[in-house]
Assembly symmetry: C2
Homo-oligomer: 222 residues x 2
């Protein structure tokens, strides 16, 4: 019966950061937490103990960098927005037609949600206490909405939409719509959904009014 310390909190691999590099641990913690949330798809699985175990540190070491677990979750949300923003931008790279760009970005939004439900739920659900959720004008979510509005406006200015309405209002409606497609698909996986991209294209086309026969205007896919 020699030890076998199953509850040992630190992985053998890890060694402490060199002097002056203590901040590195913060990144390791966020990274590990993100790994957990992506792997499980469920932000409720995020506990201090599991995160610490994933990093290979004592549970209490998290408090060296975060005042409590909710602030750690905020850091994960920030990372989630960074990943999603990058995915959206990548998807639009090299596409010049405004309609095709808009649709590519919207598809990327939905794809991110479906492929990273843990991130997505943490970003847009009610996991975080209201005071910590991003609400300010300069929050990452608000910036994403602004760029959606820009993308819509470009379609309008190119004469590729049926009608011209306030881009911000249309973007808000489109955002809420995409959120519905994505989150319902995540939460009701057994429903016989049509392909995600078809639904996304159909919804955005109708909401934005992409009927003016641009080169990439989708017809009736749904």
């Amino acid at each position: 019966m020699t030890s076998t310390p199953a509850a040992s909190p630190h992985r053998p691999g890890r060694r402490r950061n060199p002097r002056g590099q203590g901040e590195r641990l913060r990144e390791e913690i966020v990274e590990a937490a993100a790994t957990l949330v992506v792997a499980s798809g469920d932000a409720r699985e995020l506990t201090l103990r599991r995160i610490a175990k994933e990093v290979g540190i004592a549970t209490t070491s998290v408090y060296l960098h975060f005042p409590d677990i909710d602030h750690l979750k905020v850091a994960i949300v920030e990372r989630g927005y960074a990943v999603m923003d990058a995915a959206r931008e990548t998807s639009a790279e090299g596409i010049l037609d405004p309609v095709a760009r808009l649709l590519a970005r919207c598809r990327a939004y939905c794809r991110f949600a479906v492929e990273h439900p843990g991130y997505y739920r943490l970003m847009y659900g009610h996991e975080l206490p209201a005071g910590l959720a991003f609400n300010a004008d300069q929050s990452p979510g608000r910036r994403a909405l602004g760029s959606l509005a820009d993308s819509i406006q470009q379609c309008q200015q190119a004469g590729l939409t049926d009608h011209v309405q306030d881009p911000m209002a249309t973007a808000t409606l489109a955002w809420a719509t995409l959120h519905g497609l994505a989150s319902l698909r995540i939460d009701r996986p057994n429903f016989p959904w049509p392909p995600l991209e078809e639904m996304t294209d159909a919804a955005v086309s109708k909401i934005v009014g992409l009927g003016a026969g641009g080169p990439s205007a989708p017809s009736q896919m749904i």
Copy 2:
């Protein structure tokens, strides 16, 4: 220091049901649980202990009627669907125009969600374990979707839509859209949302194609 049994589990008011009426407690439990979930707006507040306290019984008495807490949650979800179905039907009462009926029902759906976020999250979120969530063809949610499809088809048959597409596919898209409007509003209450009914009407009009100038066809509200 005479007692003051603050932890006494049963309210003084309650007396046991008469012989043969034991099933009544089941209703009392569901009722109390629904009260809790409506009051808090958050299904995570639902615990055996709080429910039992609300009813005025011992925690363990819940097990007389439910094998575990998840089955109790299913009963709450059933009640939620009943409340929502009734609200939708009531909202359409006396309205003959198919478009107006459709919009009234869709508004009622969103209103239910916003007014009962606890119910709504339990019904459409991922609170319930996947095996217990309603997925079958005959689930209450599936029936609601069918009636939405009917309502859309009536608009199409009356020639009140721009185009005619498969009613079930259109209903699926509309449902997901409404879910987005409602759930995002619930979960991001600080966002500067336009009025709910305006967004609902605008979204449904565009998704279903209500542009054929029926008597109640909404114009550009957003």
